[in-house]
Subunit: 205 residues, 2 copies
DNA sequence: TACTGTGAACCTATTCACAGCA
DNA sequence: TGCTGTGAATAGGTTCACAGTA
């Protein structure tokens, strides 16, 4: 992929999510500005990075633009499942695996891990649950690329180390811990506590 | 607060989280670089924005630095609870309210809302659960500043509108929807799907 | 007319490089 | 020596302004 500003990449990912749920046939940069708060010139600039030139005087065709962004960012399509696992099957991890948000998505949970045997035995899912000790073998065998980390904070770094060692490329971090990972692993922090703190810092500034 | 780069503010919030769980007495910018991947010069620059000058040749005192960052960003301390609510008591919302991650935090969930009466009646929590129709009265009365949005995607914008109208200052958005909110409301997107897509975009770049 | 696409200007953010200090 | 703190240089990101187009 051609090098684009990291900030543009994040906005384009967000724009793809927005377009995916857009009911209209066409959309303009001004409408996108209203929906996202991002300046319309910046939106057009971001779109221009993708090489998409389909815009005409009354806006972009939603599906075409979405396709262009997905292709440019190499975002997975719903048909091309990427395999994920959940590490940590407490209340939150169990809810994530059961709540169905991945159902229509390009991501498929194919394994769950917990260090407590009773969790993997008590819970049921339409994919296998393993004791955490099996991570190093199951993750490569099941071709798992991404992990959702939902363990207790005090186990977070330990599990992140094992996920990294097992070869995952990315971790969605629900824990409050800041994870130290090799450069080959990317982390997205989605801790509700961190998010609330970020909100406080933004509100107070 | 003096104006600082938005990127610095986010990093300082992350640094505060890291320091809060740091067991050592002192820490250097190089150690922080190792733990976070952020360049050490940038870390020192960020710290200098807070006005903290406590660093000496063998690093920063962790507690002092943490205090300085919290004061500068006006982050809440565990003792000064900020009141929050959860909107959407499905599997994910219910797990968030029960999993205890807010227990030791400066955030206290004081209300839950769901548009389905059976959810508010079936679930139990140590704070009251209300039908969504009560949001506009309960939120101001209970002095709720922040909301955790965990409804189904198709209700997300509707609920965000009502939260905004009820006066919340910030929304932690667990849904896959991009929310359109007034400028007075800040949104932090923590959708696992968006996070996974961001990871894909970063991995492929 | 109302939009897109984009060079150029401007502003923000990051890195460098080094003085100052324990 | 090994760190912090910070001005200066560079790189990155955003906004402006306008030509081009349906």
């Amino acid at each position: 992929m051609e090098k684009i500003p990291g900030a543009s990449r994040r906005r384009l990912t967000l724009l793809a999510a927005l377009l995916a749920s857009c009911k209209e046939e066409k959309i303009t940069s001004i409408q996108i500005q209203r929906m996202t708060g991002i300046d319309r010139a910046l939106i057009r600039k971001d779109i221009s990075f993708t090489g998409f030139k389909g815009g005409v005087s009354n806006g972009y065709k939603v599906q075409d633009l979405l396709g262009a962004i997905r292709a440019f960012l190499r975002l997975p399509l719903p048909g091309q499942k990427r395999f994920c696992c959940i590490a940590g099957l407490g209340k939150l991890g169990a809810a994530l695996m059961q709540c169905g948000i991945f159902d229509e998505s390009p991501f498929k949970i194919v394994a769950g891990f917990d260090s407590r045997v009773n969790r993997t035995e008590v819970l049921s899912a339409d994919f296998p649950l393993y004791p955490a000790a099996k991570m190093e073998t199951v993750i490569p065998e099941s071709k798992i690329d991404f992990a959702i980390l939902a363990v207790e904070d005090d186990q977070a770094q330990l599990m992140a180390d094992r996920l990294a060692k097992s070869g995952v490329k990315g971790i969605v971090n629900f824990t409050g811990q800041v994870l130290e990972v090799p450069a080959s692993v990317v982390v997205e922090n989605v801790s509700p506590l961190l998010a609330l703190n970020n909100i406080c810092a933004r509100v107070n500034s």
